[in-house]
Structure formats: structure tokens, C-alpha cells
């Protein structure tokens, strides 16, 4: 026999042997993207395969010829499962989709404990796990709250319910009622007693409501058949996590897919006395005593909201600002919200950063001495406060969940997880949603939407992705600030000032007139793109009920509302929101924007 014939025969025998002795064989080329896709699929299914990279072996092209002869398929990948020829990438994917592949693989491929494990039972994690379970999947969600340095902890549901949106808005409401009480006298209400506020009553009521929400979440997981574990999860292998419960007991679970939804926790300053004596928003809502004279450090939305409601309760509040208010938000609006706070007694200590916090006296509250230094000069500042609240941003909880063991990449600077537009990390079977995402909105409804849509894409063949554009949001400062779309700064950066028309107006809510407060403090602004039919690309509102107002305009912007359509909309009188149907003065014109009369 000629030598060629021998090689051919040998290769054929070798291929037969590979196919007969391995569960999965992939003839592949190392650089081929389709081969990579197929390999990733089997990895995701936790199935070991025998891979022969034809471009890396000596007689690879001969292998390819023999394969063509044997299977009628010229290209790679060429996939065999349990001695059956499946085909190339498309055929394998199709077989996976219609379940044929799983059949070929036999029972072993369903060896994982769960179809999906979600790490973190907050806004995003709960939404995702419930949706996946509703689609018939076996789902586990793990949630564990690491107590704050001062020992505060809470129940199921994540940041929003326990230490975020919910207690924040309820305490903001407490402060608004104070203003309403003062207004009431002007409207003829007579009450003789001096009005005072009882922190403990408020705190207990808020905590009780949260307790009922925690329970509600627990019940809905039971009702939706989501397995819940109150334990701290960390990866030990790409498909395996270790769950450590309160008593230190370790249990291991495996899953085909994972969703990271671990959220963020408040950052500390790293100065002497911060963890020992200061509180963060994680402690504030559970504080058993009224915080008294308070210094808020930071100018984040958490800082302004908390400082705002504390002042609204009648406390002496100072906010220490390093540079600007509300970085990332429209600065014109941020400053107006800040100015309003200042006129209502909140003190701002600008261009200062703290360097140490000392305890003068323990107590509930105690007395603390704060030393700060100017960011511009050598000036030092010393002040005494009962409580120091640190609100200088939040860190993603991604540092100690074994992401290195799973191979998930994080941004080493901020711990955030980069994902593609389908919330998939660099490891195909691991996804991430919510606050830990790089460059995405940190809002509860965004986390919920992303979680739900992700579950539908993973388990119901949906292709709908989460839309992170034109997300409406509100900062609950004493005068609330709602926005949707671009800030003025970003609009100018993206479109150029000459291509924008900005309409704005001050206004005086009818409710404020009789009490005679805050005249021409409320402010409305829309930013329109002249090159695109004056489409509204930025919406900004500073005034009462900003969340309620902004929500509807958010829907309009989702539909692509233009200035002309706003003009054609008939207002509801007398309201604040109607201002957006009658905006005439452009910012460019410098025209008068003070309002008077109907």
C-alpha cells in the first residue's frame, strides 16, 4: 500500500477511536470563533470534551479531508456527541436549543443542583430569580447581610427596601409633613402646642413597615418556588459556590448559570475614627436615638437626601462638600437644589475634606470632634457634632465572592463588573445586574427590569434587552429634583451647544403661595435637539412631587416626544407639571423666567 493510503487509514482509525471513547469530541481550529462558541457551550453545560485543534497539529489538513469523507462536512467545528455526528456550530446550537443535544449527552448533563443560582437577594436578584422560577427553572437565591462596623443588620430584600429608597422616602415624607404643619397655620389650622418630633416613633414605624416587606419577600419566594438560602455566597469553581451561613456552616451548590446581584455598600473614608465613631446610611435608618447635630460628609445624592430630611426634622445639619454637588447630575439643577437647602437652614462647608474624627463623649448620641482641611488652602476646620454621617459613595460587593476562581473580570479601580449589552460577563455562564454594573444606572427599577429581562432571555427565548437610555430618576432633596435623559453638560458634549435649544422657567406652586414660601425657587428645564425635530433629550424639574411628575414625562420621552408635541399637549390646571406645556423662554435669549399669576 502507498504511504498516503496508510496515513489516511491511520487517521480514520484515530478519529474512530476518539469518537468511540469520548463523550464529546470537537474537531476545531484554535482561532475559529465558531469553534470557540461551541467549546463555550459545552463548558457552560459542564461537559468535558476532547478537543483536537487541527491548526495546531502536524497533519491537521489530512484530518479535515478524512472528516469530510466521513461526515460530508468540510468545515470546523465538527462535533460528535456519544458517537453521533452532530455537525458544525449552527447545528450544535440548534440541537442545544431544541433539546436534542441534551438527549444525546444523556442524564449526566443535568448534574447541576440548579439551573440558576442568583447571588444577592436585592432588587435585581429577587426579580431575576422569581422570573426564572416562574419559567419552570430550578432556582436558588442567596442573600446575606454583612453587619455594618457598628453592628446594624437587616432582613431580606437588599438595599432599597432596608437601607435605601424605602426608609429614605418615608423619612423624607416625615420632613415634608413638618413643612406642611407650618403651612397649615397659614391656611387657618389652629393648634396651640409647639410641634415636636419623636425620632423613636418614626424609626419604629419605618422599621416595622420594612419588617413586613422582608416577610413579604420571603413568602413570595416560597410561593414562586425559589429556593432561598440566608448565607454568604462565594465561587469556589466556575460552576460551584460555597454558602456560609450565620453559624459558619458551609454548604456547596452547583448551577448551570449564575447571576451576580450583590449590590454595593457605603464606602468609608480611611481616616482615623471613621469606622469607630461615624455612621453611614446603613446605620441611620435603624438608629435608636435622634442623631442630633449632624455633619454629613460628601455631596452624593445619598448625602443631600439624608442631610435634607434630617434638617427637615429640625436638626442642625452641616454638609461637607469636597468639590461639587451631585457629580454626574445637571449642575444648574444640583446647585438650585443645594441653594434651596441652604435657604432652609442646611449649612454647607465647601471645599473641605475630613482628616480625623475623635470621640469627646460616648452616648446616644455622643459628642464627636471632626477635623477637616481645606482642599485649596492650608486652613484647618474643627467642629463638634453629635453624629457624623459618611456618604462619599458606595463600593461594589465584588471583592470577596471568589470571582477570580470563576474567572470573572472586574474593573480593578472600582470593583465594578463589565458586561455586554445582555448583562453577560466575560465568563459566558455568569451574568451580572444592578448596582455592580460598570457605567449603568444605580436604581432599583433598573435592577428589577434588567433581572426580569435577563431571566426571560435565558429561559424563555426572549431577545428583549434592558434599555438603559432615558431612565427617569428623582433625587429626594427637600425640594425634589426629577430628571430624565441628558444633563445640560452632557447634551452640549454630545450634540454641541449650537444644536440645542433649551427652554426653562421658574414657577411658584399654588400650594406655596398662601404660606408665602419659596417663590420662584422651583424650576423647569427641557433640552431639545434642533437637528432632530426639537426632540426632548433632557428633562429637568425642581419642585414638589418630582417623582410623580417625572415618571409621566419619562414615558413621553420613551415615545420620542418633541417640543411641538409638548406645546400641543393641554395642561392640567392648576398643577406644577403643566409648566412643561407652556415653555416659551429659551435659555439662549436670556429672557425673564419669573412667573406671576395664571
Amino acid at each position: 500500500m502507498p504511504p498516503v493510503e496508510t496515513e489516511h487509514g491511520q487517521i480514520k482509525a484515530r478519529i474512530r477511536e476518539l469518537v468511540d471513547t469520548n463523550r464529546v469530541v470537537i474537531f476545531s481550529k484554535s482561532y475559529c470563533p465558531f469553534c470557540k462558541k461551541v467549546k463555550a457551550l459545552f463548558e457552560e453545560l459542564n461537559v468535558t470534551c476532547e478537543v483536537l485543534e487541527l491548526d495546531l497539529i502536524e497533519n491537521g489538513s489530512s484530518y479535515q479531508d478524512v472528516l469530510t469523507e466521513m461526515t460530508g462536512q468540510k468545515t470546523v467545528p465538527n462535533v460528535f456527541v456519544n458517537k453521533t455526528h452532530v455537525g458544525g456550530c449552527d447545528k450544535t446550537m440548534q440541537a442545544y436549543k431544541d433539546g436534542h443535544l441534551q438527549q444525546l449527552l444523556g442524564a449526566e448533563s443535568t448534574a447541576y443542583d440548579y439551573d440558576l443560582i442568583v447571588i444577592g437577594g436585592g432588587s435585581g436578584g429577587l426579580a431575576c430569580s422569581k422570573e426564572a422560577a416562574a419559567l419552570g427553572k430550578r432556582v436558588m437565591v442567596l442573600d446575606y447581610v454583612v453587619p455594618t462596623p457598628l453592628g446594624t443588620t437587616w432582613g431580606l430584600g437588599g438595599t432599597c427596601v432596608n437601607v435605601g429608597c424605602i426608609p429614605k422616602k418615608l423619612m423624607h415624607q416625615t420632613a415634608l409633613l413638618h413643612t406642611a404643619l407650618e403651612d397649615a397655620r397659614k391656611f387657618g389650622w389652629e393648634f396651640s402646642e409647639a410641634v415636636s418630633h419623636n425620632w423613636e416613633t418614626m424609626k419604629t414605624a419605618v422599621n416595622n413597615y420594612i419588617g413586613s416587606l422582608n416577610w413579604g419577600y420571603r413568602v413570595s419566594l416560597r410561593d414562586k418556588s425559589v429556593e432561598y438560602t440566608n448565607a454568604y455566597a462565594e465561587f469556589v469553581e466556575p460552576h460551584k459556590i460555597k454558602a456560609t451561613n450565620k453559624r459558619g456552616k458551609e454548604t456547596f451548590y452547583t448551577a448551570a448559570k449564575f447571576v451576580l446581584a450583590t449590590g454595593e455598600r457605603p464606602r468609608y473614608l480611611g481616616i482615623p475614627g471613621d469606622k469607630e465613631y461615624c455612621i453611614t446610611s446603613d446605620d441611620l435608618f435603624y438608629l435608636s436615638y435622634c442623631p442630633g447635630k449632624t455633619l454629613v460628609i460628601g455631596a452624593s445624592y445619598v448625602a443631600l437626601e439624608c442631610g435634607g430630611f434630617l434638617a427637615g426634622l429640625g436638626l442642625d445639619v452641616t454638609i461637607m462638600v469636597r468639590s461639587i454637588l451631585l457629580r454626574g447630575f445637571d449642575q444648574d439643577m444640583a446647585n438650585r437644589a443645594g441653594d434651596h437647602m441652604e435657604t432652609h437652614g442646611v449649612k454647607f462647608l465647601r471645599q473641605f475634606v475630613p482628616i480625623k474624627v475623635e470621640q469627646l463623649e460616648a452616648g446616644t448620641p455622643g459628642r464627636l470632634k471632626v477635623t477637616a482641611k481645606s482642599t485649596e488652602t492650608d486652613e484647618l476646620f474643627e467642629g463638634e457634632y453629635n453624629t457624623v454621617l459618611i456618604a462619599v459613595g458606595r463600593d461594589a460587593c465584588t471583592g470577596s465572592i471568589g470571582l477570580d476562581k470563576a474567572g470573572v473580570k472586574v474593573n480593578s479601580k472600582n470593583g465594578k463588573v463589565p458586561v455586554n449589552d445582555e448583562e453577560q460577563t466575560n465568563v459566558p455562564h455568569i451574568y451580572a445586574i444592578g448596582d455592580i454594573l460598570e457605567g449603568k444606572w444605580e436604581l432599583t427599577p433598573v435592577a428589577i427590569q434588567a433581572g426580569k429581562l435577563l431571566a426571560r432571555r435565558l429561559f424563555a427565548g426572549s431577545s428583549v434587552k434592558c434599555d438603559y437610555v432615558n431612565v427617569p430618576t428623582t433625587v429626594f432633596t427637600p425640594l425634589e429634583y426629577g430628571s430624565c435623559g441628558l444633563s445640560e453638560e452632557k447634551a452640549i458634549e454630545y450634540h454641541g451647544e449650537e444644536n440645542l435649544e433649551i427652554f426653562h422657567s421658574l414657577f411658584w406652586p399654588l400650594e406655596f403661595t398662601i404660606p408665602g414660601r419659596d417663590n420662584n425657587r422651583c424650576y423647569a428645564k427641557i433640552i431639545c435637539n434642533k437637528l432632530d425635530s426639537d426632540r426632548v433629550i433632557g428633562f429637568h424639574y425642581l419642585g414638589p412631587n418630582a417623582g410623580e411628575v417625572t415618571q409621566g414625562f419619562g414615558a413621553a420621552m420613551k415615545c420620542g416626544v418633541t417640543k411641538e408635541q409638548l406645546d400641543n399637549t393641554i395642561g392640567i390646571h392648576p398643577t406644577c407639571a403643566e409648566i412643561f406645556t407652556t415653555m416659551e423662554v429659551t435659555k439662549r435669549s436670556g429672557g425673564d423666567i419669573k412667573q406671576s399669576g395664571c
Binding site: P147, T153, W154, N207, W215, R218, R222, N230, K246
Partner: protein, 169 residues
């Protein structure tokens, strides 16, 4: 200083174990007069037997807080007396009204019925297992079987007749 400490955290153990049943089964069992699905105790003694229903010890602990799962098995499931289980929470206003009324109704029975109080945040697994969705939920148990239950508040007369029904009067 910080208000809610570790103890307060909701806690659930994985749902395994020989006498667990799905919540739905517990709910279904609640409406039938006697379901064997919950009967894990071998006790068949008559609860009406006076020598058994009025021992000194049960007088002393006629109303008690459930400590843990084992305690629940011993003092509720394996109880010689019929037991009212009051699933309640610290954050629940109506529970604070119902609790004392239940104590009073039980007191009137002079030791013929016991009352077990379960804080659902401390014993979440028990509450989840017994299908509790809202509080207060009161479950009437005899020989380890759920024989009746209600959710929400009841007035004193309603409670008396609920208890009377349980002890078969």
C-alpha cells in the same frame, strides 16, 4: 447602639427533613378537619383524658414561646393537649392586639388547651413550612394535625368559639 442586631435577621434553613411539607400542603390541610399528612407523632391518647390534660406542668407552661424546631416538635406536635399556634411578628400591629386576647381565651379553658407563640422572624423556617403568608396567623393543632386556622384579628367571642371548637365543646 444599632437597633436591629443579628438576632433579628430572618433566617431560613434549607427545606429538608423528615417532617417538612410544602406550604401548599399545609394550607390545604388547614381546611380539612383532620389530615394525616402532618401526623408524625405516634400519640393516639385521648386529649380529653382528664389525668393527661391537666398535669401540673402544662398548667405552668400553658402559653409559651417556641424556642426552635425541636421545641416545636416536642411541645406542639407531640403535645398531649390541643395547641393554638400564634404566628406573630414584632412589626405587626394587629398581632399586639390579638396576642392578649388569645391569652385570655386560653386562660378560660383552665389548662385544656395550650398556646405556642412563634415569632416568624426568629423562626422563619417554621412559618414558611406552615404556609404562613400574613400575620397574625393562628393555627389550631391536635395530635400534630392542623385542624383549623385563621388569619387576622378576631374578637373575644369569636376566639372563644374557635377554642371551644378545638377542644370539642
Amino acid at each position: 447602639m444599632a437597633a436591629r442586631l443579628l438576632v433579628r435577621r430572618t433566617w431560613a434553613v434549607s427545606v429538608k427533613g423528615f417532617r417538612r411539607l410544602p406550604a401548599a400542603a399545609a394550607a390545604a390541610a388547614s381546611s380539612s378537619s383532620r389530615s394525616s399528612s402532618l401526623n408524625t407523632s405516634a400519640h393516639t391518647r385521648s386529649f380529653l383524658s382528664p389525668s393527661r390534660s391537666l398535669p401540673l406542668s402544662s398548667h405552668r407552661c400553658i402559653s409559651f414561646n417556641v424556642q426552635d424546631h425541636d421545641d416545636f416538635t416536642e411541645r406542639v406536635i407531640n403535645s398531649d393537649l390541643p395547641v393554638l399556634v400564634d404566628f406573630h411578628a414584632q412589626w405587626c400591629g394587629p398581632c399586639k392586639i390579638l396576642g392578649p386576647r388569645l391569652e385570655k381565651a386560653i386562660g378560660k379553658q383552665k389548662g385544656r388547651v395550650a398556646m405556642a407563640k412563634v415569632d416568624i422572624d426568629e423562626h422563619t423556617d417554621l412559618a414558611i413550612e406552615y404556609g404562613v403568608s400574613a400575620v397574625p396567623t393562628v393555627i389550631a393543632m391536635r395530635d400534630g394535625n392542623i385542624i383549623d386556622q385563621f388569619v387576622g384579628i378576631k374578637d373575644e367571642d369569636q376566639l372563644d368559639s374557635f377554642v371551644n371548637k378545638l377542644i370539642g365543646q
